[in-house]
């Protein structure tokens, strides 16, 4: 007989080894101030990750790699966050646990409730509602008005809206026939997405605006039959970007400090230059955990976590992270290619594009390859709402990786 799951055991064990070693190193680093609860949570996390990887194999006959890749990213990020701020590390552990639960919850809800693709209007309404909430209840963090606080917990509604956007687009293109009779239905979609982008612009959340745009552009490129609409989209964005550059000061600042931050070293260009210092200082192998100075990097636990990792764990770990995202995106596209159910196929694509562009935008940003826009590095950065939304996305991707074609047959017939 063949040993079941023999091959996927190897990376799982490597992951386990990585976590065990790095956590014990961190405990040593903070030996004096170590609390029992931390200790327990950490062991809990290793178990949760190991078990959930193992469980997933039993539950889902879909893709086995994406969750594995994501848990590796989680581990690297968590170690860095814990090293920067112990308290934050413990909180992140909690978020990861909740995230994994959300992942399973998403998986089962999506698996056993049918009809998701028909609720486009619901997603749309929900999105606008979230935007409305942000404007009414929003508080300003890091110069962007994109957070709402409910009962002491800060929450970034756009993290959920980005998923709703993917659902809206998926539901639109998979119900193409339904909308055929409505004139200019394609243009309505463009209008909706641009209204989102404009709202994000007003919140000064440039990173998210770019994210929304790229997701839309990629899906439009693949599914839009009216090809001239794509050029219109690109043209509109360029015009909008130019307008934003002229009208909004914060857009101009990003652009100027990208071209040459050095004259603004102690004001506007401070962040990006601190990031470059950290990456340069790290060299190929890094200074070693606990031996660098990630405190010098602003927002080292969120937007600039990649720079902090490069400083202490080296360029090679940085490249490792990029490669992990590359395989994750590759798997996502692979899932989309294999999926026969159009709605889930578009969802899988949208989510892969989301993971891909989000990591490219922030890694490219901190490397000064492209203008810096503040967004989190998925699964690596600290943050509750981004952690939850990314895990929901991963759950959707997991469902999409399964063979749904035969189950949804009746929809196909209806077309």
């Amino acid at each position: 007989m063949i040993k079941k799951g023999a091959k996927s055991r190897q990376p799982r064990n490597l992951l386990f080894l990585f976590e065990a070693l790095s956590l014990s190193l961190l405990f040593l680093y903070q030996w004096d101030s170590l609390e029992k609860s931390t200790y327990i949570t950490a062991i809990g996390l290793v178990l949760i990750i190991y078990l959930s990887n193992f469980l997933l194999l039993k539950i889902s006959d879909g893709d086995q790699y994406i969750f594995l890749i994501v848990t590796m990213l989680l581990s690297i990020g968590l170690i860095m966050i814990y090293r920067i701020d112990e308290g934050l590390g413990v909180k992140q552990l909690l978020w990861i646990s909740i995230g994994i639960l959300t992942f399973y919850l998403t998986y089962f809800v999506l698996r056993y409730i049918k009809g998701w693709r028909n609720w486009g209007i619901l997603y749309l309404g929900l999105s606008y509602l979230l935007f409305l909430f942000t404007f009414v209840l929003g508080s300003r963090i890091k110069g962007a008005k994109n957070w709402i606080k409910i009962g002491g917990i800060s929450f970034q509604p756009a993290e959920i809206t980005k998923l709703l956007l993917i659902f809206i687009i998926a539901s639109f293109y998979s119900n193409k026939e339904k909308y055929k009779d409505i004139k200019y239905s394609n243009y309505y979609l463009v209008g909706i997405v641009y209204s989102f982008i404009a709202l994000l612009f007003l919140q000064k959340d440039l990173g998210m605006a770019v994210l929304f745009y790229v997701i839309f552009l990629a899906l439009q490129y693949i599914y839009e039959e009216d090809r001239k609409l794509i050029f219109l989209n690109i043209g509109l964005f360029l015009a909008g970007g130019l307008l934003g550059y002229v009208v909004f000061d914060h857009v101009k600042v990003r652009f100027v400090t990208w071209l040459n931050p050095w004259p603004y070293i102690d004001n506007k260009g401070y962040q990006i230059i601190q990031s470059l210092f950290a990456i340069a200082e790290g060299g190929f192998f890094g200074t070693g955990l606990g031996l660098g100075h990630p405190y010098f990097i602003p927002h080292a636990d969120t937007d600039f976590i990649f720079s902090a990792i490069c400083e202490e764990m080296g360029l090679f770990t940085g490249i490792g992270i990029i490669m992990l995202f590359l395989i994750l995106v590759y798997r996502g596209f692979k899932i989309a290619l294999r999926q026969k159910n159009k709605f889930y196929k578009i969802l899988a694509l949208g989510i892969s594009v989301l993971f891909g562009i989000q990591s490219i935008v922030i890694i490219g940003g901190v490397l000064k390859v492209i203008p810096l826009t503040g967004i989190t590095l998925p699964f690596v950065s600290y943050g509750g709402s981004s952690m939850l939304s990314n895990f929901i996305a991963l759950g959707v991707l997991q469902v999409a990786s399964e063979d749904l074609g035969l189950e949804d047959e009746h929809y196909e017939i209806g077309e």
């Binding site: 007989m1 091959k7 990376p11 490597l14 190193l25 590796m72 764990m313 080296g314």
Partner: protein, 142 residues
């Protein structure tokens, strides 16, 4: 003490991360051969039911059936499997006027269709399961 450990560990971490990436890429490589499954849209195909990763030899997840498809241990077959329980020429599927027929080629261990060992040529229906040794294929013909 911590400093020394940290210095040593940074190399170990990089090695582990890369081993991890490598092992995942290796797993993915094992199924890279079936980028052509999407030709299956309009024709009949066999889908592997076993997890590919569980089989100790090179195998694809999808095989399209044009006019004829042969299965066996010999390399001249359309699907050849290095399994000792598979005969050199084990079975074949032949298309005839839109229908597909399965025929065992006097294999040593037999071919099973929906748990039943077949003796003669059998017409295949969508959803049939073909089993040889411990390999199972789903026959799909929409």
């Amino acid at each position: 003490m911590f400093n020394i450990l940290s210095l040593v560990f940074k190399y170990i971490f990089i090695i582990i991360i890369y081993l991890f990436i490598f092992s995942i890429i290796r797993l993915i490589y094992l199924d890279i051969g079936n980028m052509n499954y999407d030709d299956t849209d309009n024709s009949a195909y066999l889908k592997l039911i076993n997890k590919m990763e569980d089989l100790p030899y090179k195998i694809s997840e999808y095989y399209t059936i044009d006019e004829k498809l042969t299965f066996g241990r010999n390399q001249s077959n359309d699907i050849y499997i290095k399994d000792p329980f598979v005969s050199k020429r084990h079975f074949q599927i032949i298309e005839d006027e839109g229908d597909y027929y399965l025929e065992d080629l006097d294999s040593a261990n037999g071919t099973y269709l929906n748990q039943e060992k077949i003796e003669d040529v059998v017409k295949l229906r969508n959803g049939d399961i073909i089993k040889i040794s411990n390999i199972e294929f789903l026959f799909v013909n929409k």
